[in-house]
Symmetry: C2
Subunit: 346 residues, 2 copies
């Protein structure tokens, strides 16, 4: 019996969209049933990784998809368009495909949505594609009635090719955990905006494509980079729980080493949201063999998006599937996002 073997409620509620255990149970018990097999040499639906991988000749075709329902659609540091492109480029990179080949974008618009808002979002999409060195090759347009959809929803799907796959499940005892920068920025920037705290803080989303940073780390760390994960919904906590569970290791997290912006800490305390369960949209979590950890850390820190990178934890054979937070004064189990705290964060 896995941690996901929980009961699915009679009605699907907001907690099934938070990126935590309820969502994984829904995927495991409903969505992945009888679907998603790609053979032994690939990554399919049951792996619940950042995307899928299918062997084609001497390489892998990596595919990742995300729907974006963030509210508000424009927020400090970004907008739904930048979020969609970055999110998909990052999902591909987390599988090892750091050169996005192409994206698709399907848009669903609420009847009455302002044309100029749509144009502004699209300009952000175009600029983020240019920044990421990719483009949108095909799309789809739907309009739903007023009261049937709130605003604008985007789906982006991406494809990339790679010779080497990196899963989120390659950890063993002794491996190091690296984060590429400060944690919780995106989620708390959104929550600050929704709670009308935006004017009182300089808090911004970290939303950005990080594939060139990941490429640099893979170039330096090689086979020593054993796991990669995008700490989006559910934040660092859900990412580490998934990595720990799939790898069958425990993770000891050094709280004092985790990079946090002072504003993120302050807004988190004000709103009662732990930055470690809050979404990131321009960060990565790496699992590293100990002998390459320092070299990868240096490489990541040399990238503009990785200057605050830090090694924040270590894998152990005890408590497989759990994440222990070492606070410096003692230790406790790290909780996962659950319940209905953070809907429409991405």
């Amino acid at each position: 019996m896995t941690r996901n073997a929980r009961f699915i409620d009679e009605r699907i509620t907001l907690k099934y969209g938070t990126g935590g255990g309820s969502m994984r149970a829904l995927i495991e018990q409903v969505f992945a049933k009888g679907l998603g097999d790609v053979g032994d040499d690939g990554i399919g639906l049951a792996a619940m990784d950042d995307g899928a991988a299918i062997r084609i000749g001497d390489q892998y075709l990596v595919i990742a998809t995300d729907s974006h329902v963030v509210q508000p659609i424009e927020f400090p540091g970004g907008d739904i368009g930048r979020l969609a492109i970055s999110g998909t480029v990052n999902d591909l990179a987390m599988m090892g495909a750091t050169e996005p080949l192409a994206l698709t974008c399907a848009v669903i618009i609420e009847d009455g949505f302002p044309r100029d808002d749509l144009k502004r979002i699209w300009e952000s999409i175009r600029a983020t594609c240019e920044e990421a060195g990719t483009t949108i090759v095909t799309g789809d347009t739907k309009v739903m009635g007023h009261g049937e959809l709130d605003g604008l929803v985007l789906n982006t799907t991406g494809v990339g090719l790679t010779k080497r796959l990196v899963s989120d499940a390659g950890l063993r005892a002794g491996d190091k955990i690296l984060v590429t920068g400060t944690m919780g920025d995106h989620g708390l920037a959104i929550m600050a905006t929704r709670n009308e705290l935006a004017l009182e803080t300089t808090l911004e989303s970290d939303v950005a494509p990080v594939h060139t940073l990941v490429r640099r780390a893979l170039d330096v760390g090689g086979e020593g980079v054993v796991a990669l994960k995008d700490p989006t919904r559910g934040g660092l906590s859900s990412a580490l729980h998934e990595m720990a569970e799939k790898s069958g290791v425990g993770i000891i997290l050094d709280e004092t080493a985790i990079p946090l912006r002072e504003e993120v800490r302050a807004v988190g305390e004000l709103l009662g949201i732990d930055p470690l369960v809050s979404a990131n949209e321009g960060k990565a979590v790496f699992g590293l063999r100990p002998d390459c950890a320092e070299a990868v850390l240096d490489a990541v820190r040399s990238h503009p998006l990785g200057r605050n990178a830090a090694i924040v934890g270590e894998c152990v054979s005890e408590r497989p599937g759990f994440v222990v937070l070492d606070t410096g004064f003692g230790s406790r189990l790290l909780a996962e996002a659950e319940g209905e705290l953070l809907p429409r964060i991405c």
Copy 2:
């Protein structure tokens, strides 16, 4: 100046989702601006085809995406799950990729949606994947609040490989137009259900994956199959208008040759909806060189989904971009779906 060079209104309304000229103008003037270039040897966003194609080695990677917002989510002859899988498999086939490699499925669920309804839709997805010989390799799950989304929205994106691409723009004067079966079934089945006529008719959606039918036609017709299109939103009329405009030909349609179910004709008359602007979800439109047209017709008719296939029109050099309906008593220009008649049809 093309037919799509029309003004985009200050607010995006339902007519921009109907598959007609307003939608094409929105794509051309907003979505495709500065995006979607795949080089000379491929099909990108500006082509506004059923999907995109990118050269990889000696073959093409074909990608197609669709969001599905159909209402009601279960209808005579199918449901949103079968619609999503069939729609994406068919889009790939219309580019020449008749063996779908893999699909993604991203789901957005309204808070409070019944678990058992979701399970039933997913069983339909699984069964349609099995029928189509493909699977869902990765996905995404979001939940939106009550009042923010009506029911359930699916996005499916598909990938396939093909050595030969077929666009929707290869027509020249003298070519024949073939439809693989009766027209308008899906759209009028949905509209009958919404108007509570379902109990009084036996009308059913035609929703089905037609890739094996397309493969059979390509095997027989070879290079003589010069254009392929999925007559979904906007029906046969929009499909032919797009094909005519892109190819720079006129199309003369023989009204008496178009296969129509008696119930479709009757419900269409009752509701004031022309079956020729009504969506199909298990049909294809072929453009054929005249010397292979009869052989392809025989091949299509030998397939269970093509028994009612017919040659319904011919391309001419006059009136490029227009479709003329020959009624047997005279002729008139065929209109396209426009306005807000048919929202959430797929």
